[in-house]
C-alpha cells in the first residue's frame, strides 16, 4: 500500500524512498540484533504489571464500586440471562428437565416455519437440511449454543442499531457524529475488543454478546441510515404537502420504502454476529467456536473440520434465509398482495400449527428431544478430514513445502529480520521517513506517535513480527487481488463464475478459514499468513474488479482503436484509471489481513496474536494481553494512516 500510493509523477520521491530502504538494509547489516527491544513470552514490563494490578483492583471492587454495582453488573446480568434464556429454550437442559424446552424436532420445525413464512419453501427445505446436519455431525447442542448467542446478539443489535440508523438517516448532524465511530468499530480487528470487555463484564456470555454487538451493530446502523436517507424526496414532499407530520411521514413513507434495504442490513448484521460469536469462544462463549478453538489448540484437524463445517452450514442457512426474506419484501407487493389475505393467513396458521405440534412432541418425547445418537456421522467426518489432511500433507508436501519455503525465505524472513532484527530507532526513523514521503506531515506525525506507542506498550518486537507477517500477507493479497480482479473485471464469464464464490467467501466467519489451511500446512506462522490471504482476498478482488469495470467503455474503446495490446490496455489504461479502487483494495486488504494474522496466533503465528490469546488463559499475562490488543489497534491505525475509510458494505450475496 505504501508504494502504491506514491504518485507516479514524482520520480524524485521514488529515489528518496529507494535511498531510505538502502540505508535501512545497510544499517541492518551492521547493527542486526542490537536494540531490538525483545521481550520474552513470560516477561513483563512495569506497564503490564501495572495493568495486572489495576485489573486485580477492579476484580476486588466489582461488587462494591457503585459504577459496577448499579451499571456494569446489571448489563452483565441482563445479557447473561438473555443468552441463558435462549439456551434454555433450544440448547441446554433447563427448568429441571434433562433436555431443553424445545428438542431438535421442535427447533427444526420452528426454523422451517419461520423461514417459510418470511422466505419461501426452498429456503425452508434448506433450513431443515442444514439443521438436521448439525445433529448428524454430532454437534446439535453446540450449534444451538452458537445460534442462541448469535440470535440474542442480533436481537439486541437490531434493537439498538435500527433506531440509531433511523436517527442517523433523519439527522445529518447525528450521522456525521456516528460515521467515524462506526468506521473505527469496523476497522478494529475483531480480536481486540475481547480483552477489555472481559475486564468489565468478565469472561462469559455477556462479554461475548457485547463483543458480537460491537461487530454487528455498524452494518445495521449504516444500512438503515442509508435506506432512510435514500427514500425518494418527491414522495416525501408529496406527503408533507398533504399535511403529514414528520412522524406520519416516517411511519407511512420512510419506513415502508426503506424496508427492503433494512432487511439487507439485517442479513449483514446476522452474518457479522455469527462470525464474531464463533471468535468469542476465546472468552469462553459457548458453542461451535469453542469446539473449533479446542481442536485448533490440540491440532485436531478432524474435529476442527467437523465443527467448521457446521459453522459454514449455519452461515449458509442464515444467509440464504435472510436473503430470501428480503426478496420476499420486494415481490410481496406485486404478487403476494394480489393473492388473498385469507390464503396467506391460512398458510401462516398451518406452518405455525405444524411447528407447534412438532414442538410439543419434542417437549414431551425423548426421541424428538435428543438427536438420535445412532445417526451421528460426525466421527466419520472427523476421520475422513484427518485422513485427507494427512494425505494432502504427505502427497502435496512437495508443492506445499516449496510454496512455504519460497514465501518464508523469499519474503517473510527478510521482512521479519529487517523489521524485528534492526535496532528500534532505525526502524522508527525509516517508518516516519516513509510516512512523511508518502503521506506528508500528517502521516509522519501519526506514524511517529503510533510507533512510540508500540514502544511504550513494551511490545515493540512482537509488533514488528506481526507487522512483517501483515505486510507479507498484504503483498500476496494484492498480487492475487490485482490479477484476479483484472480478470474478473474484464471477463463476464469469469465474473459469473467467481463472484458467487467470493460472495460466499465473504459471508464465512473468519475462524473457519484457519481449519483447512491448518490441514494443509500444519501449525506454523505461514499458516496464519495463508489464512489471512484467503480471508482478505475476496474483498480485494471485488474492489479491483469494480475499479476495472468502472473504467468508461469509451476510453477502453479509444485505446483499442489506437492499437493497444491487451497487456498495454491493462497496464496503461485500466489499472491506472482504477488506481483509486486498487488503493482502496490495498487498504481494506490490510485491515482484513491484520485481523486474521492475529487470529493466527492460535495456530503458531506467535507475536501479538499469541500475547492476546495467552492473556485470556493465563492470569499473570492478562495485562500483557491487553497491551497486545492495544498494540494491534495502534498498528491498524498506523497502517490505515489514520485515514479511516468506510469498509465497503458487504453486498447482498443473493
Amino acid at each position: 500500500m505504501i508504494t502504491l500510493s506514491v504518485p507516479a509523477r514524482l520520480p524524485a520521491r521514488r529515489y528518496l524512498a529507494g535511498a531510505i530502504v538502502a540505508a535501512w538494509v545497510l544499517g541492518h547489516a551492521l547493527l542486526a540484533g542490537r536494540d531490538t527491544l525483545a521481550l520474552g513470552g513470560a516477561e513483563l514490563t512495569p506497564l503490564h504489571e501495572g495493568v495486572n494490578e489495576a485489573w486485580d483492583t477492579v476484580d476486588d471492587n466489582r461488587n462494591s464500586n457503585p459504577f459496577f454495582l448499579y451499571f456494569v453488573n446489571y448489563i452483565r446480568l441482563i445479557l447473561d440471562e438473555s443468552v441463558k434464556f435462549v439456551q434454555a429454550l433450544i440448547s441446554q437442559p433447563s427448568f429441571g428437565r434433562p433436555v431443553p424446552v424445545l428438542g431438535w424436532l421442535g427447533v427444526v420445525a420452528l426454523a422451517a416455519a419461520v423461514t417459510y413464512i418470511f422466505g419461501n419453501i426452498r429456503v425452508a427445505l434448506l433450513t431443515v437440511a442444514g439443521f438436521v446436519s448439525f445433529g448428524l455431525l454430532g454437534l446439535w447442542a453446540e450449534s444451538m449454543d452458537t445460534l442462541a448467542l448469535t440470535l440474542t446478539a442480533v436481537a439486541y443489535s437490531l434493537a439498538v442499531g435500527i433506531p440509531l440508523g433511523v436517527w442517523a438517516g433523519l439527522s445529518g448532524r447525528f450521522n456525521r457524529f456516528v460515521t467515524p465511530v462506526l468506521d473505527f468499530m469496523q476497522t478494529m480487528p475483531t480480536f481486540v475488543y475481547l480483552a477489555p470487555l472481559t475486564l468489565f463484564f468478565l469472561i462469559g456470555p455477556a462479554s461475548a454478546t457485547i463483543a458480537t454487538m460491537i461487530y454487528a451493530i455498524p452494518p445495521a446502523i449504516r444500512i438503515t441510515a442509508h435506506a432512510i436517507r435514500e427514500v425518494s424526496p418527491v414522495t416525501l414532499e408529496a406527503s408533507s404537502s398533504l399535511g403529514a407530520t414528520s412522524a406520519q411521514s416516517l411511519r407511512h413513507v420512510r419506513l415502508p420504502l426503506a424496508r427492503r434495504t433494512i432487511v439487507v442490513g439485517v442479513n449483514q448484521t446476522i452474518m457479522a454476529a455469527l462470525s464474531m460469536a464463533t471468535i468469542a469462544a476465546l472468552i469462553d462463549a459457548p458453542g461451535l467456536g469453542k469446539t473449533v478453538l479446542k481442536a485448533l489448540q490440540t491440532l485436531d484437524i478432524g474435529a476442527a473440520f467437523n465443527a467448521g463445517l457446521a459453522i459454514v452450514i449455519m452461515a449458509v442457512v442464515l444467509d440464504r434465509a435472510t436473503t430470501a426474506a428480503s426478496h420476499r419484501v420486494e415481490t410481496q407487493r406485486r404478487t403476494g398482495r394480489l393473492r388473498s389475505v385469507f390464503f396467506r393467513r391460512v398458510e401462516v396458521a398451518v406452518a405455525l400449527g405444524i411447528a407447534a405440534v412438532l414442538g410439543y412432541l419434542s417437549y414431551t418425547y425423548v426421541w424428538a428431544a435428543e438427536f438420535p445418537a445412532g445417526a451421528n456421522i460426525g466421527s466419520y467426518v472427523r476421520r475422513a478430514a484427518d485422513a485427507a489432511s494427512v494425505w494432502v500433507q504427505d502427497s502435496l508436501s512437495g508443492f506445499t513445502d516449496a510454496l512455504k519455503n519460497v514465501i518464508t525465505y523469499g519474503l517473510l524472513n527478510p521482512f521479519e529480520s529487517l523489521l524485528a532484527g534492526s535496532p528500534w530507532w532505525l526502524v522508527f526513523a525509516v517508518g516516519v521517513g516513509m510516512a512523511a514521503l508518502v503521506g506528508g506531515t500528517r502521516a509522519a506525525i501519526i506514524a511517529a506517535a503510533g510507533l512510540a506507542a508500540l514502544i511504550g506498550l513494551g511490545l515493540w518486537q512482537d509488533s514488528m513480527v506481526t507487522l512483517a507477517a501483515t505486510l507479507v500477507a498484504t503483498i500476496l493479497v494484492m498480487a492475487l487481488g490485482v490479477a484476479t480482479g483484472v480478470w474478473i473485471g474484464r471477463s463476464d464469464r469469469a465474473d459469473a463464475v467467481l463472484r458467487p464464490v467470493l460472495d460466499a467467501g465473504q459471508t464465512m466467519p473468519a475462524f473457519v478459514y484457519l481449519v483447512p489451511i491448518l490441514g494443509l500446512f500444519g501449525p506454523t506462522r505461514f499458516t496464519a499468513i495463508i489464512a489471512a490471504v484467503v480471508f482478505a482476498a475476496p474483498v480485494a478482488i471485488k474492489l479491483v474488479a469494480e475499479g476495472i469495470r468502472g473504467v468508461p467503455p469509451a476510453t477502453v474503446e479509444a485505446a483499442r482503436s489506437a492499437g493497444s495490446s491487451s497487456w498495454q490496455l491493462i497496464t496503461k489504461v485500466q489499472l491506472p484509471m482504477a488506481r483509486g479502487a486498487v488503493a482502496l483494495a490495498a487498504n481494506q486488504g490490510l485491515i482484513y489481513v491484520l485481523s486474521m494474522v492475529v487470529v493466527g496466533g492460535l495456530v503458531g503465528a506467535g507475536a501479538l496474536g499469541y500475547d492476546v490469546v495467552a492473556g485470556f488463559s493465563q492470569h499473570q499475562l492478562r495485562g500483557k494481553g491487553l497491551a497486545a490488543g492495544l498494540a494491534i489497534v495502534v498498528l491498524g491505525i498506523v497502517l490505515d494512516r489514520a485515514r479511516v475509510r468506510p469498509r465497503p458494505e458487504r453486498t447482498d450475496s443473493g
Partner: protein, 336 residues
C-alpha cells in the same frame, strides 16, 4: 363580493444560500448576486392575485423559479420575504399546526413525478391525505372511490402504482389531491413527464374537471401551448422575476419584452388573439351593415365570416360598435 382573491401574493422573495435576507431587495442580476454573495435568488419580488375559480398559470424556462414559487405558496419551501394572503390570512404567519391544517384541508398539490407511495395500492394512495388527517377507514375509502371515479380510474383501486402507465399514475396523483376537497389546487408541471398524446388527454381532463368541480388552480408549466390552453391568466417568470402577467391574448398580442416575444413567436396568433386585437375604426365612407361579431371571438373562428362577407364585419359589444374588421386585417394577421 365575488372578487375577493383566493390568493394574494405580495413582494415574495425566495433566496437560497448563506444569509439569504441580505439578498432581499437587491437589484443585481441573478448571476452577479451569485458571484457576490453565493446566494441564488430563485424568486424575486413576485406579486400576483388569484381569483376564485380561476386557472392561473405560471410559466417560464427551466430554472426560472416556478417550482420554488409554487412551493413557497404552501411553505414546502420557506419564503425569505413577502406576504402570501390566503383568504385574507398570511400563510407565512401560520404556526406549525395551522399550516398543517391548511395543507390537510385547503390546499393540495400535484407533482411532476407523481410522488405516489409504491407500497400502497391506488385506493390507499388516494385515501392517504384523508388518512393522515384522521378520517375513519370506511369514510375515506368512500371518498377515495368517488374521486377515482371522477378521474376515470374506477376498477384500478387495488392496483399498485408501478402497474399503471404514467398518465394513470398522474390521475392517481390528481385524485389524491382532489380527495381532500381543497379550495386551491397547485400543479407543478404535472404533465411534463408524460408523452405528448397522454399529455393532451390529461389537459382536457383538467379542463373537464375544472368545469365539473370549479376549483381554483395554480398551474405551473414550461409549455406555452399548455399555458394558453388552460390558463385564464398567465404569469411569465424569468430568472425568478415576474416579466409579464395577463390573459393569453394579452401575452401573445402584446409581449412585454423580447424574452416573452421569443416565447410566443411560434404561437399561431390567430388561434389565440381575438378580434379586439385587429379591429380598427370604421372609415367614414364604409358601409356599416355587415355581419356582427363579438370582440372576444378568437380570430380563427371569425375567418370564415369575415372573408365571405362582402362588406366590413362590425365588432359589437352590448350594442356598442367598437370597430370593424375586413379581409385585409385577417390576411395581414395570418400572413405574419
Amino acid at each position: 363580493m365575488k372578487d375577493q382573491p383566493v390568493l394574494d401574493v405580495r413582494g415574495l422573495w425566495k433566496v437560497f444560500g448563506p444569509k439569504p435576507e441580505r439578498a432581499v431587495g437587491s437589484t443585481l442580476s441573478r448571476q452577479e448576486l451569485k458571484e457576490r454573495t453565493g446566494c441564488v435568488a430563485a424568486v424575486r419580488d413576485v406579486s400576483f392575485t388569484v381569483r376564485p375559480g380561476e386557472v392561473f398559470v405560471v410559466m417560464g424556462l427551466s430554472g426560472s423559479g416556478k417550482s420554488t414559487l409554487v412551493r413557497c405558496l404552501t411553505r414546502l419551501v420557506e419564503p425569505t420575504a413577502g406576504e402570501i394572503l390566503f383568504d385574507g390570512a398570511d400563510i407565512r404567519q401560520a404556526d406549525e399546526r395551522r399550516l398543517r391544517e391548511l395543507r390537510r384541508h385547503r390546499l393540495a398539490m400535484v407533482f411532476q413525478h407523481f410522488g405516489l407511495l409504491p407500497h400502497r395500492c391506488v385506493l390507499d394512495n388516494v385515501a392517504y391525505g384523508l388518512e393522515i388527517r384522521g378520517s375513519a377507514r370506511p369514510e375515506r375509502y368512500k371518498r377515495a372511490r368517488e374521486v377515482l371515479e371522477l378521474v376515470g380510474l374506477t376498477g384500478f383501486e387495488n392496483s399498485y402504482p408501478d402497474q399503471l402507465s404514467g398518465g394513470m399514475q398522474q390521475r392517481v396523483g390528481l385524485a389524491r389531491a382532489l380527495a381532500v376537497d381543497p379550495d386551491l389546487l397547485l400543479f407543478d408541471e404535472p404533465f411534463s413527464a408524460l408523452d405528448p398524446l397522454i399529455r393532451r388527454e390529461m389537459q382536457n381532463e383538467i379542463i373537464r374537471l375544472h368545469h365539473e368541480v370549479g376549483k381554483t388552480m395554480v398551474f405551473i408549466t414550461h409549455d406555452l401551448s399548455e399555458a394558453l390552453k388552460l390558463g385564464d391568466r398567465i404569469l411569465i417568470m424569468r430568472d425568478g422575476a415576474l416579466v409579464q402577467m395577463g390573459t393569453p391574448d394579452e401575452v401573445v398580442g402584446a409581449p412585454a419584452d423580447d424574452y416573452v416575444r421569443d416565447f410566443v413567436s411560434d404561437v399561431p396568433r390567430s388561434h389565440v388573439l381575438t378580434l379586439r386585437w385587429i379591429m380598427r375604426e370604421a372609415l367614414p365612407d364604409e358601409p356599416l351593415d355587415g355581419p356582427e361579431l363579438a370582440p372576444d371571438l378568437v380570430i380563427r373562428e371569425a375567418v370564415h365570416t369575415v372573408l365571405s362577407a362582402d362588406r366590413p364585419v362590425r365588432v359589437v359589444r352590448e350594442g356598442e360598435l367598437l370597430g370593424v374588421v375586413t379581409s385585409a386585417e385577417i390576411l395581414e394577421m395570418i400572413a405574419r
